[in-house]
Amino acid sequence: MTTMERPVLPKLIGARVKRREDPRLIRGRATYVDDIKLPGMLHLAFKRSDVAHGRIKRIDTSAAEAMPGVVAVFTGKDLMALPGATRPVGARGTYAAKIGAGLPPMPIGTPFPSPDHYAIAPEVVRYVGEPVAVVAAEDRYVARDAVDAIVVEYEELPAVVDPELAMQGQPTVIHEGFPNNLALPYVPMGTGVDPATGQVDNSAIDRAFAEAEVVISQRMVNHRVAPNAMEPRGVVAHWDAGKEFLTIWSATQNPHILKSMVAAVLGLGEHQVRAIAPEVGGGFGCKINIYGEEYVAAALSRILERPVKWIEDRSEAFMATIHGRDLICYLDIAARRDGRILGVKMKLIADIGAYNMLLTAAIPTLTMLMASGTYDIPAIRCELTEVFTNKTPTDAYRGAGRPEATYFLERGMDMLARELGLDPAEVRRRNFIPKEKFPYTTQTGAVYDSGDYEKALDRVLQLAKWDELIAERDRLRAEGRLVGVGLAFYVEVCGLGPSSSLPTGGWEHASVTVERDGRIRATTGASPHGQGNETTFAQMLADLFGVPIEHITIEHGDTGVVRQGIGTFGSRSQAVGGTALMMAGEKVRKKMAKFAAALMDANEEDLVFENGMIYVKGSPSTGKSFAEVARYAYVPVPLPPGLEPGLSEEAFFEPPNNTYPFGAHICMLEIDRETGEPRLLKFFAVDDCGNVINPLIVEGQVHGGLAQGIGQAMFEEVVYGPDGQLLTGSFMDYALPRATDFPWFELDRTVTPTPVNPLGAKGVGEAGTLGSTPAVVNAAVDALSEFGVKHIDMPLRPEKLWRIIHGRGQA
């Protein structure tokens, strides 16, 4: 029996705990994928198409193969290794036999029809940057030299660049079997649409517009952006020919999905693959996908029987990593003169680029799902068309479909307010879903879990000192300055699953083990890349077990250690992964209580876990130390009846529904009358992500989201030329926001817990990108209101604004 005085451990849930990840990161001792070096490792480099659309007439790899240090060169046809391939593959002979039927087309995660997409294009290239060959060499520099020595001749085909022309089959059709370049010809959602049959009844939506006293109509573009995680993609693959076992390290958000998909593509069993996400330098959605380079690396390691590494250059990333957004919306809002909305129509055209990637086709459907925003709208009709163009494929980028919905709707709300001469806050307030209506089912089928939108609106108005802000704007305007104030509200769907909504399954997995010495090892399938799960998850377990946080390790990112998992995306770590962890933890705690009860001859229900002790409530001095009980559980003499030895449990959490965090953003922006340069002066954000485990981390997530949302609104844009050439292929032309671009972000929170999970946490990773983008554009339109401008498409390039100010029309 221990009677020693123990320090009182503070409760950590809700505390600003410094991150446990940081020491290795700030000391330069973290291991990212490019830091991995294996004996005999080869380096891969890809030859990529420099035309947007073309048929490969000839590839000459002989000069590359002849270079000293080059081990092999493979084209797309080589990798298909079709029966009857006429030439030996690679510099050292025929490898074709070893991969049997070759690499099949890459799998996707959506149920829609999709054209074949090979890791390396065998015949036709469909975007600038599509791989046409791969070099394996002893050295990274040599691999790069060899790529230049590969000669490719193309028969150039017309480039399909404008999605609205593409829909008419102009100037050509990209994929056989997809007439008029329609990847998804027509998907309706909302009022009058039967999701089961797809049958459409227009009476309700038509009535809403017939009864409208005012109708707002606007075409808007939520333009294409590049995710630009600071760490580009990378992969190391090691095929152990003796064990017939593949280990693959990748800068991925979801190693378990990588494992499943690589196994499937290579014709291996999942028991033959271990996928590891080492330290991952940001994802923002772009590292959800399993990319061709990963399959190629795995295949080449197997063929060549050597470890291989491929690290993406930033210039490659701009071409070869998925892009985000790129959605055109024809928005119509029907309303009464008092501002009450009767109906909303969104006709959406998604330019998805050249191929379907993992979730490409599903992303714009989330825009439809969230078309109601925070408003009680009686009739909504969304219609989505997805179009192939000769551009890099799109897929999930921070927010993934929801920022687009928010942007379109919140621009529309401002237009409505302006049309009716109403305060933008007031028009929103009049349409909010009242808090007593939750759970609330929108016309597009989303079931909002909980919300108190008025509270968040009031809080942000208070934070920004709205009336003073407007007075300040007017004062500055009186001096001749172009100053605007913008408000936007958002609601977001987070905590993805459930499994019905994700082809991978929508659960998350966790395991918790109390070791013999009372230290705790836990694993999570939520594989973080900056989110700080090692800290927040340890906070939760520290409170659960009443032990110091230093006694806990959270392991992740390795399918060899983490038995099962889905991954980190859709702001799901805390809501889904965190809940799974707590479930596993509670199982262990319950079992441990049984051991403790046996040891102390107490009733397990009466036991308290606190300050490193387990004791009967009210008598801490007679308890057992946590470690002592742990030891007993592993050397259980005697073994209490009905118990197995050990303290190790796992749990899968299947969320019953998504979570719907929300918030409101306000900003003030000035535009230089002479140059059109915009400058953000102030930014206020109130976000409600439910219960918070670590406010420090939540603030960081919000800041980052704001920066990306503001970045899209003001600076960032992927631009293609009329020939399909990428004109923003580096940071010389793609403006990534810098520290000097932002004002101080003023943050506050409201807390509306979700009933969907026991933590009451909703998720916060993507939230910042939702409200900030329309808030900024709303402010810009407000700043230029004296010129009668109704809408400005993003980004707020100085010339665009200058043209409005100076009446110069379109460039």
Partner: protein, 284 residues
């Protein structure tokens, strides 16, 4: 991104650099800070067979005043320009423009000689050198040669410099009524338009005026019609406005890209000319 192979020699003196240049038969490039050249080599847009490193030649570095002239060695970094006490006293516009280049790390390595010899159409310092009437001092196999900055910049990435010459220094007279105004390209931090105005104001009258623009066209060049409207007149707002209103009207081959159309660039030449003139006049 990895450059192609090259041979490397470090020159201990200007003369050795010239000799190495001659021996290379036009296949060599000079390397100092490398902040113009290395990015091009990494993108394989430049593939020299030999790099001659002049970064350690003592004569090439430093800022001094001699015989009424300010002399800046070619391998002096932008950061040294931006923080030079001597320049802030005698030619603050040079410091001001250098402080607008790139970012701190780039300014620590990038050199004035590299920037001028490379002659990127959107670089800042060429406009400044043209406006303050700097002389470019070149040394070649036949000795020294001096070229006015105005005629040094000839075309896109093209300067009056032989393949076996070394840009050793720039020299110019102290200049106070001068200012540089720049519209930043948000991504690269190069100039969409940059205008440098250098005036001599005596007894309330503009005695001489040189105004040069970068970013707008193929190379840095003067705006003679602006200058004409300034000389002999008082530096009033009306005079400045009038002069700025014709800025760029003489420019040909005005650039147009995703960041700025020709129309916008032309308008910005006027705006930034006016801003540069206002600041030049205001500078006591």
């Amino acid at each position: 991104m990895i450059p192609t192979k090259f041979a490397y020699r470090r020159a201990a003196s200007i003369d050795e650099a010239i000799r190495l240049l001659q021996e290379s038969g036009g296949e060599a490039k000079l390397l100092a800070g490398g902040h113009s050249l290395i990015p091009l080599m990494k993108l394989r847009l430049s593939e020299p067979a030999l790099l001659i490193d002049i970064g350690r030649i003592p004569d090439l570095r430093g800022i001094r005043e001699r015989d009424g002239l300010i002399e800046i060695g070619a391998t002096t970094t932008h950061h040294e320009l931006a923080t030079s006490e001597l320049l802030r006293r005698l030619a603050p516009v040079v410091s001001e423009a250098a402080a607008e280049i790139g970012d701190p790390q780039v300014r620590h390595r990038g050199t004035i000689g590299g920037s001028l010899a490379h002659a990127d159409p959107a670089a800042d310092l060429p406009a400044v050198m043209v406006a303050i009437d700097a002389e470019i001092h070149l040394k070649g196999p036949n000795g020294w040669r001096t070229v006015p900055a105005e005629s040094f910049f000839q075309d896109l990435f093209t300067v009056d410099m032989q393949p076996d010459e070394v840009l050793a220094a720039v020299k110019f007279r102290p200049v106070w009524h001068a200012a540089y105004a720049k519209l930043h390209q948000r991504a690269s931090h190069y100039a969409i338009v940059g205008v440098c105005a250098a005036l001599a104001i005596e007894n309330g009258t503009i005695r001489s005026a040189r105004v040069a623009v970068t970013g707008a066209s193929t190379h840095a060049q003067r705006l003679p019609n602006v200058e004409e409207r300034l000389v002999g007149r008082q530096p009033t707002q009306a005079v400045i406005d009038e002069a700025a209103s014709v800025a760029g009207d003489t420019l040909e081959d005005v650039n147009s890209d995703i960041h700025a159309s020709e129309e916008y660039r032309r308008a910005m030449v006027k705006v930034f000319t006016r801003r540069a003139l206002e600041r030049a006049v205001a500078r006591a």
